[in-house]
Symmetry: C2
Subunit: 122 residues, 2 copies
DNA sequence: ATTATCAGTTACTTTTTTGTGCCTACTTTC
DNA sequence: GAAAGTAGGCACAAAAAAGTAACTGATAAT
């Protein structure tokens, strides 16, 4: 049956963006290591499949968070990087990571997902 | 086959927590409206199923973000609320919402999920 | 001459997640 | 005396997400 679609929230889009497996990992690599080519990125995010990487990048691109530059050479060379918007996002991730680390340091943060999906992040 | 499990990230647990449908919505209601009983909460989060609400609350509870007080009356009365840790999380959500609203105001933030799961938030 | 590289795309399969409906057991209300 | 509310639990089915493998097309290297 259809999935319930409750009223939308100002954060919904943003969360839909950074949510989902690999996404933050990708953003992280991109902001730490700078613009990368597809293959580099794939190697930098160990375990990700081509399909997933493509999909996530397309999503981030559509959201205007990541740019894509394609050189019409053979073989093709495609480079991805963070847009200005993407860098704004980075600051959010930083503050998120801050709390995460604080909690981790306190050590009391146990997390046994019941039905939580895998997140796959760095 | 098994899902790929790449190296873990300091933010993984935190993201796994606030990720997933309804979760932020629930946290939001709890922090805006204060402690609530199960039924109230369910009505405050329109469209959520009993199963989902229970599951999310259990998860948040295990993470120490939400407390649960059960009155052994008949019928039973169970109340949920944010712990101190949960309130810390709130500040993160606030800053997240800040960026979200800014982007929304700019209007350039389009988001057509390719294979993004539903997030279901307020 | 076969193979590898690049950046994907497509189709197919499996795994995970979510919704639905039915049940509890007692009390208060219509 | 039947119905509704309370806080869920359980089993089953549907839907969505992610993995896998095979394919693209031209070139460069072995």
């Amino acid at each position: 049956m259809k999935r319930a679609t409750p009223p939308s929230c100002p954060m919904e889009a943003l969360l839909r963006l950074i949510t989902g497996p690999w996404t933050i990992y990708i953003l992280w690599v991109l902001s730490e290591q700078g613009p990368q080519r597809f293959g580099e990125l794939k190697r930098a995010v160990p375990g990700i499949s081509t399909r997933m990487l493509t999909e996530r990048l397309r999503m981030l691109q559509r959201a205007g968070v990541v740019w894509r530059k394609q050189a019409q050479t053979i073989p093709p060379a495609v480079t991805y990087g963070l847009t200005d918007r993407g860098k704004e996002l980075r600051s959010v991730l930083d503050s998120l990571g801050e709390v995460a680390q604080r909690w981790q340091a306190e050590g009391t943060f146990e997390l046994a997902p019941v039905s939580g999906r895998q997140l796959n992040g760095p």
